[in-house]
Structures are given as C-alpha cells and as structure tokens.
C-alpha cells in the first residue's frame, strides 16, 4: 500500500540545511588547520588562501541563515524541527567565527613569515590538533544526534584552555627576559587567545546539539572539570 510521508518535503529541506551546516563546519575547520600550518611552516602563500576563502565561508553562513528563514516561513516548524532550525542559525554564526579566527591567524602568519621564532611552536599546533578533533566530533555528533560524542568536546576544551594558559605563562616570561621579544610574543599570544576562543565556540555548538535533541539548555560547566577550590 502507498503511504504518504507528510514530512518528506520538510525533511528534505531540513537535511539540505544540515548538509550545508556541516559543509560550513568543514570549511572553517580547514581554515583553522591551514592557518596554524601556515604559521608554523612560515608559508604566507597558504595563509593568503585562507584569507581569500573567508568570503566563501561568510557567504555560506548567510545562505544558511536565509534558508532557515525560508524554512520557517514555509513550514512554520514546531518541536524538534523548530529547535533544530533556530539552533542551526546560531551554529552557523559560531562556525563562521571559527573561519574568522583562521583569517586572523593567517594574517599573523604572513607578518611572521620572515621572522625567526622566539621559540619553537609546539603548543599552538597542539591546540589546533585538539580543536580539529573537537570540531570533527561535534559535526559528527550533530549529523548522528550522538549525545555521548558531543559530551567529549567539553573536556577537550578544558585541555585547550590549559594549553593557552601555559603558552601565556611562557610568553610572559620570555617578554620579561627580553623586551625586544614583545612584538612577536604578543602576536603569538593573540594566536593562542584566538584558538582558545575557537574552542569556546565549538562548545557552543555542542550545547546546541543537546538542545535540539533534549529541549534542555545544558550549560557546558556540567561536563567541564570543576573549578579549583577557593584559596583561604
């Protein structure tokens, strides 16, 4: 017997939107990876491609936003559909910011392309590797509604925060020793801060994935390591 799937049209459009969001995620992921690679390997040409591609990321983000509005106007969604659509709009904005961080880091990569590094870049690429895993897992969790995978993002972000703090401490020491390092050190610090912020945006994505499925706003702190006790 023929069955009419009343959700066929809606699901087709919703899936298109999900695919676009995942594509946007992959583009931003690539931007961050290439930016850090270009910085570490002093490759200004690669850095330029990241900056050039940022307009495409922005354009896709606005395309997604527009598609969401069209979806709302056409289908007037409720329940999980409504939560998904509103979340996709926020998620597109978070992901687009990741692309912006990639561009910013690429600019610094161009500025530092000819300079000798004041220290070998080890922790910054480690941050990037963590972010790459986090984003990959988040996109996969979004695609498969995998809550337990989404949860892993929060503890990894704790590690990203630790690395940033470590980098900051090191750079401060180096600047104190030799003020001539301040110019480069502050740029590297800016890179570390951008990557730390990128981690926060990825945890926002994970929070949204929880919201779409459960309808509950789950604060990231629930899955993070507890703060150290206050000192007496």
């Amino acid at each position: 017997m023929y069955q009419i799937n009343t959700r066929a049209h809606l699901e087709e459009k919703l899936n298109d939107l999900k695919r676009k969001l995942i594509k946007l995620g992959k583009m931003s992921k690539e931007a961050l990876n290439k930016a850090v690679w270009a910085l570490k390997n002093q490759d200004p040409k690669l850095a330029r491609t990241v900056i050039d591609n940022d307009d495409n990321i922005d354009a896709l983000r606005y395309e997604i936003e527009n598609d969401c509005l069209t979806f709302i106007a056409r289908f007037q969604p409720f329940g999980e559909d409504l939560r998904a659509i509103s979340s996709i709009m926020y998620m597109a904005s978070d992901i687009e910011r990741l692309g912006d961080y990639g561009s910013r880091i690429s600019r610094i990569a161009i500025e530092l392309a000819e300079e000798e590094f004041i220290k070998p870049l080890i922790d910054i690429p480690r941050m990037q590797v963590l972010l790459d895993e986090m984003l990959e897992d988040t996109l996969s969790a979004f695609d498969n509604k995998d809550m337990s995978l989404a949860k892993t993002v929060f503890s990894k972000d704790d590690e990203v925060d630790d690395l940033e703090e470590q980098i900051l401490r090191e750079l401060v020491l180096m600047m104190m020793e030799k003020p001539s390092r301040i110019a480069q050190a502050s740029k590297l610090f800016f890179v570390a801060r951008s990557l730390e912020r990128a981690g926060d945006h990825i945890t926002n994505l994970a929070e949204r994935i929880f919201y779409i499925t459960t309808g509950e706003i789950t604060p990231a702190s629930r899955f993070r390591r507890p703060l150290p006790p206050e000192k007496e």
Binding site: G79, E80, L82, R83
Partner: protein, 251 residues
Amino acid sequence: MDVSISAKNVNLYYGDHHVLKDVSFDMNSKMVTALIGPSGCGKSSFLRCLNRMNDFIRGARVEADIRMRGKDIYARDTDVISLRRDVGMVFQKPNPFPMSIYDNVAYGPRLHGIRDKDKLDEIVETSIKGAALWDEVKDKLQASGLGLSGGQQQRLCIARAIATRPDVVLMDEPTSALDPLATAKIEELIRQLKESFTVVIVTHNMQQAARISDYTAFFLLGDLVEYGVTAEMFTNPKDKRTEDYITGRFG
C-alpha cells in the same frame, strides 16, 4: 491561577464506543485554552461536554465531574438553559438565525427574560462592539444577519454568544470556513475576548493554537496526552506523541 472550569475524570461513551477516557484538567479563567489533536481524538466531544451539548446525542453517556466556578454542571439540579447562558458557543460554520442582526444578538437576553428596550439596545451594542463588528453594521441593525459576509456572520455569532455575558465562550473550529483575513480578525478578537471571558477553542490549525492560546491540551484517541503552557508545548513538548503530532509525523 483562577480556575474557571475544572474537568475531572471525564468519560464519554457513544453507545459502546469509549470516546473520552478519564480526561482531567483545569481551564484557567480569562485565558485561552486550545484543544488540539487529529480528527476523531475527542477534542470536539470534550468541548461539547462543557455545555452539555452531548445531551442531545442519542446513545451518548457522560460520566464526569465538571465544575464551573465550583458548581457541578452534571448535577441533577443543574438548569441546562442557564448553563448555556453561562457558557456561550460558536461553531465551525457561521450560523446566524434568519432574522435581523439586532434580533440575533438580542435573542439570548430575551430568552432569559430581558424585555426592556433600552436594556436590550445597550446589550446589543456592547456585544456587537465586543465582537468588533459595530462599525460595519451599526447603520443596518435591522438588516438580515444572513446578508453579512462569512467573517462578519461569524463575528455576529460571537456577539450573540457573549450577549448573555457568559463566563466561558466555547469555540469549535471558528475560523475553518473563513478566509485568512477574516481568520486574522477572529484571532485578534479572541485575544480581546479573553480580557472578559474564558475561551476554550478547538482548532485543527496548530499555528492558530500556537498564536492565540495560553494553554494547550493535546488529545489522542480519547486520551488527554499532554496539557501545558502553549509556548512550552510547541517548542519542547514533554510527550513523544505530542512531539510527533506537532511535527507532522502523524495526524
């Protein structure tokens, strides 16, 4: 919250068919409560229990504790005529009486013994104004109600329903026969009506329920599946069956 109608363990049978199964919830005063659910879920039957319209149906049997302002409407000594004065009703298709606009609205008050011309004039004017129809009909109150447009006829029916100053106005899909603009007018009117009345509305249009109601009750196969604040119900329903219904998975 001030409760206008309290329904407890409402069971309705049409012959052997168990149409409503132990439905219990309170309808709050001066709020709009929407009843939603697929065809045959019992929402209209429930609405008709609230002013004992099911009494007319042969083979219908109601076992229920329904209290309006604390008074049991199924009690032996309940006067059904006065119950219907306290509980007005508006139907799916506009059904003005084949008489003048004025007489349509004055019909109820006259039935309840009001004869004084000035008093009737005042009731008619207030009720038609309350139904947002006054400007359109004030110069032709003696014209037939049947000469009005569909949307105007429905507002005339609302004026007729509120002319007896009821506590509650029941509406059974009041806009399903109207065009979008006439629908929008009725929806806005419902929003205004709740300042003075408790409104219980059956609608097939979920967007309408989401727009105009404060509380929503979702019925399925004679059960009340979920009852709650409308905003919550349409963004984050608690029951999987509600989620499936509002997202169009069935119904």
